[in-house]
């Protein structure tokens, strides 16, 4: 019996039809569930997993309902947004980027304040909480920590194909959550992986490396120009353009080991000057409320509060939220801030680093 011969054009047609149907089905599924919230608000009842700052923050900023947000580096990931609701009556969204540079903050703030998004149609931005990491303020003004998936940030619908036809999106963020049925708790998203037992001095000292000593003292004005640039390009425009939004800006309470780095690298005066400059710039705006937590002596000198030389335990986040609500540790003038910095200097001067390192040598 002669075997049936199929026409090439028909076989190509079969191929094209199957490909078209399968890709269309995947596209429809991704658009409907929209695990990165790129097109719409979350679908009720779907167990969304939120664990990807780079990919999910822009969509959340556009399409979720919130009236305030948390911006900043890993210093902000352990806030519980429920605390902001409980203490301040705010519906807060966490939009942290671990390791964020000022430009990362700008990129997400651009979306937060973008007019016409679903988020802005639902609510104005009442408050923005920014953890300001001064070490990053000397980065280039356009430097970002990680390459961004631009197809989720720009408004080009064509490159959305990278989202719609994406195995990770389909398998990790749609099918797996459907099976596991274990959605993220939006109040705690992006929380650091360190569990309670990691917050202890032994763990901190085990991972701590003293930087290379620097013999020459840094010029005390050296950090100012780039800090000014970063403030002017990446932070201040939002403060100026949104006078009805309150910006709660805080300096995170790094441990005393951070200050050891500053001492060893010989830029204590330059760093203090940088803090003073930034505070003075920020305090010029009525809609800024500035908080300084670094001189909480009992906290920063007790390394049992930390998992490494900068990252503090979630209890400290809770405490800072309480301060945002009750005004404790708030700075209202440059002269007050100078006093607070002097207290910080006193803590550094009084701390016995030699004893600490001898104990763990």
């Amino acid at each position: 019996m002669k075997k049936k011969e199929y026409k090439a054009i028909n076989l190509i047609g079969i191929f094209a039809a199957i490909v078209a149907v399968m890709l269309a089905a995947v596209s429809v599924l991704v658009i409907y569930v929209d695990p990165f919230f790129h097109y719409h608000a979350p679908v009720k009842g779907f167990p969304y997993v939120v664990d990807n700052q780079l990919s999910q923050n822009p969509g959340m900023a556009r399409n979720m309902t919130y009236d305030s947000c948390i911006i900043g580096s890993s210093m902000t990931v352990n806030f519980h947004t429920d605390d902001f609701n409980e203490l301040m009556g705010l519906n807060t969204l966490k939009l942290s980027y671990s390791g964020a540079y000022p430009r990362d903050d700008k990129n997400i703030l651009d979306i937060v304040f973008e007019e016409g998004t679903l988020a802005r149609q639902n609510s104005d931005v009442k408050a923005v909480f920014i953890g300001l990491d001064m070490p990053t303020m000397t980065a280039a003004t356009d430097e970002i920590k990680y390459p961004l998936p631009m197809y989720l940030y720009d408004k080009n619908p064509v490159n959305d194909v990278k989202y719609l036809w994406n195995k990770d999106v389909l398998l990790e963020y749609i099918l797996r959550p459907m099976i596991q049925k274990n959605p993220s708790n939006m109040s705690e998203i992006y929380a650091s992986w360190w569990t309670e037992e990691y917050y202890n001095i032994d763990w901190v000292m085990q991972g701590y490396e003293v930087p290379e000593p620097v013999a020459d003292k840094m010029d005390e004005n050296l950090l100012i120009p780039q800090t000014r640039e970063n403030l002017e390009q990446n932070i201040l425009p939002f403060i100026k353009e949104n006078p009805d939004t309150t910006f709660y800006i805080f300096f995170p309470p790094y441990s005393i080991l951070y200050w050891n780095n500053v001492l060893v690298e010989n830029h204590l005066d330059a760093t203090m000057n940088q803090y003073q400059f930034a505070a003075s710039e920020l305090l010029a705006y009525d809609n800024v409320r500035l908080f300084y937590f670094q001189n909480m002596k009992d906290v920063v000198t007790d390394l049992d509060n930390y998992a490494d030389y900068t990252h503090y335990k979630p209890d400290i986040n809770r405490y800072m939220t309480e301060c945002f609500a009750n005004g404790e540790h708030e700075i209202t003038s440059s002269s007050q801030f100078a006093d607070e910095l002097q207290k910080m200097r006193d803590i550094i001067d009084a701390f016995d680093f030699r004893e600490l390192f001898d104990r763990y040598s």
């Binding site: 076989l11 191929f15 199957i18 490909v19 194909v161 195995k167 999106v169």
Partner: protein, 472 residues
């Protein structure tokens, strides 16, 4: 733009074929048709290349300007070819060994083709200097990034036939099947193996002996699937046009000795070195010692061509020395006894040599090999679960959810073994993709499988990886 990108697959390639079809179908005058098709190939290939940035673009433009001019002078004024060859060697050395950060894309490939072009012109193997032919020979997009190192006459001859052909369903179908097979080799197999290789070479100090063996094996397989997958895609694109490129891979790991391996692996590079280095050095015509010396020189150059580092020199020498030994002891008896054993040993040797090719330096390569030859009494024969976890792809995760495998101690290793065993089966038991694409039955079921593979690859493009050989 690379072959494994959305823009190439869904926009560039269909548009290229459509316009080629239009030119072939609607221009009556054959001469005019040929010129326009050549122009279209040059322009579309240039557009393909522009996406790699201005650094790469300026580099290739400079190379084309100098070589085009020198080629013209060779043909018209009879000038020596040597300055042209020196320029190309210096051009390549400048980027490979100079202080410039980064390499222009594809520079190693097109520079060798420039040398071949000038030498062929000088020898009269190319009769006329034709700018259009020259540009299409250098730029032709299916082979510009990673070869095959095309023969001038072959490629221009093939492209010249386009004016008398028409893109048709049969040619598109033939090319499509090979393209999908090549894409699958790259995206589904090579990239999965690369996860294990990358982990291993980033964590050398923690590897056990068995880990080290698996890591070396992963890279050996990854490189094959990556590079041959690219060549399959390139050939698939050409078949869609109803033309063909030189064969670059012919089941190389089935080789029973190193000489056979180089007749099957990166075949066009072997041909290049034979024609432009080995034979000019005297080949095998000047006695045994010179023959062996010439072989070693060829492999030394091959090592240097692949990278600037002692590890590449060692890699080249490992091949060169075994080639000399093989040539010294090998007597072709006509019998092919114990071929499976010879194949196994050749594969092992080549895999060991790839360790130097992949490692950041000789020290790292020796570290990995030392792990294999001096196994720890307790940990040596264990496989690190962290290495095995590299292979737990999302697709395979569902196996764990619907089966009780995860309850067993071997559960964490299942994905790794699935990927490794399948890869070895593809390499040693199946026909090469090029052959498979020709013999596979043209029926609806085949197209269903191809469509599923294609969609699977498309969904995997979100995490785009580059081709390994694009960096050489």
């Amino acid at each position: 733009m690379t072959f494994n990108s959305y823009i190439f697959i869904f926009i560039y390639l269909p548009v290229f074929l459509l316009i080629l079809y239009i030119l072939q179908s609607f221009i009556d005058d054959a001469g005019k048709r040929g010129k326009l098709i050549r122009l279209w190939i040059i322009l579309s290939s240039a557009a393909f290349f522009v996406g790699f940035g201005s650094f790469s673009l300026w580099a290739i433009l400079l190379s084309i300007a100098i070589n085009g001019l020198w080629g013209y002078l060779i043909r018209k004024k009879g000038v020596s070819v040597i300055p042209g060859v020196i320029f190309n060697v210096a051009f390549l050395a400048f980027f490979k060994f100079g202080t410039v950060s980064g390499m222009p894309i594809a520079v190693s490939f097109y520079t060798f083709q420039q040398i071949a072009f000038l030498v062929m012109l000088k020898k009269g193997e190319i009769e006329e200097f034709n700018l259009g032919e020259y540009l299409s020979y250098i730029l032709f997009f299916p082979k510009i990034l990673q070869g095959p190192l095309a023969d001038y006459k072959k490629i221009t001859g093939e492209l010249n036939t386009l004016k008398n052909k028409r893109v048709n369903a049969e040619s598109v179908l033939n090319g499509l099947i090979l393209f999908v097979l090549g894409l699958s080799k790259k995206v589904l197999i090579s990239d999965a193996l690369g996860l294990g290789a990358d982990y291993g070479y980033s964590n050398l100090s923690t590897l056990t002996a068995l880990d080290a063996i698996i890591v070396a094996l992963c890279y050996s397989l990854q490189l094959y699937f990556d590079f041959s997958g690219y060549c399959d895609m390139a050939e698939g694109i050409c078949r869609m046009m109803d033309v063909s490129l030189d064969v670059n891979f012919n089941a190389p790991y089935k080789s029973a000795n190193i000489a056979e391996f180089w007749d099957r692996w990166h075949i066009t590079l072997t041909k290049f070195f034979t024609k432009y280095v080995y034979i000019p050095l005297g080949g095998s015509r000047k006695g045994q010692f010179r023959t062996y010396l010439n072989i070693l020189i060829v492999f030394l150059l091959s090592g240097i061509w692949h990278g600037a580092g002692w590890n590449f020199v060692v890699w080249g020498m490992l091949h060169g020395v075994l080639m000399v030994i093989t040539r010294f002891i090998h007597k072709d008896s006509g019998k092919d006894t114990l071929r499976w054993l010879k194949t196994f040993l050749t594969f092992c040797y080549v895999t060991v040599a790839w360790v130097f090719f992949r490692a950041a330096n000789v020290s790292d390569a020796l570290t990995l090999l030392k792990k294999i030859v001096t196994p720890d009494a307790y940990y040596g024969m264990r496989i690190s679960i962290k290495l095995a976890e590299c292979f737990q792809l999302d697709e395979l995760w569902y196996i764990f959810k619907v089966t009780p495998i995860s309850h067993y101690s071997f559960g964490g290793y299942v994905c790794m073994w699935i990927i490794l065993i399948l890869s070895l089966v593809f390499v040693f038991a199946l026909k090469p993709a090029r052959e498979l694409a020709e013999t596979i039955k043209r029926r609806p079921l085949t197209m269903v499988v191809m469509a599923i593979l294609f969609v699977w690859c498309t969904l995997s493009l979100g995490n785009v990886s580059t081709f390994l050989y694009v960096n050489f």
